[in-house]
């Protein structure tokens, strides 16, 4: 079953922060986050495993609330290069039933 992402789209000014949410109705083993720019393939950002880990990379971090089966992606002090569509992907068993969400389109304006 496909996870739900919110918001569907967001427009920011450079330097502003954003949060993208991903939720599932089933128990999850892992949550993946990818970014896709127009006309390009998705690029990996990070993976979170059940256990409520919060991981980060530079100004992009994420958390996973195992009890709620929700993950959030945090973009701090957004840059123009952050523009694109962000997808979460979920697995409900070890390496199985992987499914991407519908995506959140992020536009960062100067």
């Amino acid at each position: 079953q496909q996870p739900v992402q919110s918001p569907q789209a967001v427009i920011l000014r450079e330097g502003e922060d954003a949060v993208i949410n991903c939720s599932s109705s089933k128990a999850l083993y892992s949550v993946h986050w990818y970014r896709q720019k127009h006309g390009e393939a998705p690029v990996f950002l990070m993976i979170l495993l059940k256990g409520g880990e919060q991981k980060g990379h530079e100004k992009i971090s994420a958390s996973f609330n195992e009890k709620k089966q929700q993950s959030s992606l945090y973009l701090t002090a957004s840059q123009l290069s952050y523009s694109g569509t962000y997808f979460c992907g979920t697995e409900d068993n070890y390496g199985q039933n992987f499914v991407f969400g519908p995506g959140t389109r992020l536009s960062v304006l100067p």
Binding site: S30, H32, A41, F44, I47, F87, Y94, F98, F100, G101
Partner: protein, 114 residues
């Protein structure tokens, strides 16, 4: 390190024709995925291989789509016969293993069915 290779990059066919896509994953990657991405939507998993075995093909329209990964390395996805609704980008991805590993995507094949 070479990335995931796909060919062709673009293909235009008429409905009811057949088409095949090829993917060569990153060397040493045991897991290979084929996705269909329709414009404006997230990638939809068609089939997942672990070496040369199928892990998940629950969303593969088996009456017209087929895929193989005979020697556990490169893979071919075929559509026969194609329908208008098959117009999409077909993405191949690979990962070092199954379960919670980063997926590396190829550039994709854009299929247009007229």
């Amino acid at each position: 390190e070479a990335g995931v290779a796909q060919s062709p990059r673009y293909k235009i066919i008429e409905k009811r024709q057949s088409v095949a896509f090829w993917c060569n994953p990153i060397s040493g990657h045991a897991t290979l995925y084929w996705y269909q991405q329709i414009l404006g939507q997230g990638p939809k998993l068609l089939i997942q291989f672990q070496n040369n075995g199928v892990v998940d093909d629950s969303q593969l329209p088996k009456d017209r789509f087929s895929a193989e990964r005979l020697k556990g390395v490169d893979s071919t996805l075929k559509i026969q016969p194609a329908k208008l609704e098959d117009s999409a980008v077909y993405l191949c991805a690979s990962s070092i293993g199954q379960g919670a590993y980063e997926q590396y995507f190829g550039p994709g094949t854009r299929l247009t069915v007229t």
